[in-house]
Symmetry: C2
Subunit: 206 residues, 2 copies
DNA sequence: CCCGGATGTTAGCGAGCGTTAACGTGATGA
DNA sequence: TCATCACGTTAACGCTCGCTAACATCCGGG
């Protein structure tokens, strides 16, 4: 009935395969012929759906950045106190990290391949997302400085985004176990921002 | 006196600039002319020092992997108990992450661009390094399973390797403060592997 | 019946890239 | 003095890649 329906499906299919390939071999390492082959059409056929290879990457990065931000904001708005908000942010980010692995990889790896305008947009979305986290973190740990909170947030992103590094073979825990573990690790890391917290490991001077 | 001296310096200079450029724009995103220009000679002049562009990347990745592993082993061997060993591993990794930022970036980003033999070698070095960590972590936290420990180690790598994401402007703490913060964050994350540890954040059901 | 749009195809262009070839040059040492 | 070697240059080759042009096929609606 809706003629655009099949088009949209095709576009989404192309984007999914392109994301996977870009994450595996890098933006410059993948040719349009490969992307086409991955969806059963051949190279130039892609240009019926996208203006070019750059446009695919741009749509992917703008999409993931926007979804991360809006999902984060929504989850925070539904919580009652900062600790719950932090919990919700972590949970939401883990969902993205596990379910959209290729996009998470691209998100902090291929940003520089974008046109100036797209890059500015993505960076703005990313910055707002970081600010969302920093605000919550500083409310939970008021003794942390702005710089510390920001660095800690980036560090936790690195922690949560580490899933792609465990080749999904039997060497990784299943989804729920992995999500729970990452959640505990992230909370544990951020607790280091609490100065009143007792030392549990040796301090070999420093 | 030593005629190879200037050659070695040239090689090292080339490798340093190549690492920086590869980290900034990706292996495929950098041309040999750019690498040459960065050291004051022009494109093909590089072939007096390296067999090709691939050889530069291979030498960079094998080098960093080997140095990470040998430094880690040495530091562990110098400690008396597992907790100190873990402390030493974290400290050593932080030194690499902060001082060799471009190499750390390349290390987990451009591995697939290597020839099979080089890639196998780098992967083997990486695996041995991970095993070093996993062994120490499991001695400090005996209740963690093998899978948990391995995932946690990769997560901590992601955490420690997050430094490149804070564009070295005034938005990041200075070196010593950053090193201390990363150290605390990593220890805090790993403490989550201790099941007897009290909950400190809300648990909004699961 | 056939027009037109959506969606493909193949052929080929033009640019950029890694690499090689051929050549220059200055320091070194017999 | 001059052969040699280290180190660099420019020109050019061949290949790949993104993209366009031109043409084919299917299909719904007047």
């Amino acid at each position: 009935m809706n003629p655009t329906k099949t088009v949209e499906n095709r576009r989404e299919q192309i984007l999914r395969e392109a994301a996977r390939l870009f994450a595996e071999r890098g933006f410059h390492g993948v040719g349009v012929d490969e992307i086409g082959a991955a969806v059963g059409i051949s190279g130039p056929g892609l240009y019926r759906h996208f203006a070019g290879k750059d446009a695919m990457l741009a749509e992917l990065l703008v999409g993931i950045s926007g979804r991360l931000l809006s999902a984060g904001r929504m989850r925070v708005a539904e919580t009652a106190d900062p600790a719950q908000a932090l919990d919700a942010l972590i949970r939401g980010h883990i969902d993205f990290a596990i379910d959209d692995r290729p996009l998470i990889t691209l998100h902090d790896r291929e940003l520089d391949r974008l046109r100036d305008s797209d890059r500015k947009l993505v960076r703005q979305l990313q910055r707002q997302y970081v600010e969302e986290w920093v605000g919550v973190v500083r409310r939970v740990y008021p003794d942390a400085t702005e710089l510390e909170a920001r660095a800690a947030v980036h560090a936790v992103f690195g922690l949560l985004n580490s899933t792609p590094h465990l080749g999904a073979g039997g060497r990784a825990p299943d989804r729920t176990a992995m999500a729970a573990l990452l959640h505990r690790l992230a909370l544990g890391a951020l607790e280091a921002l609490d100065p009143g917290r007792p030392w549990t490991a040796v301090r070999t001077d420093g």
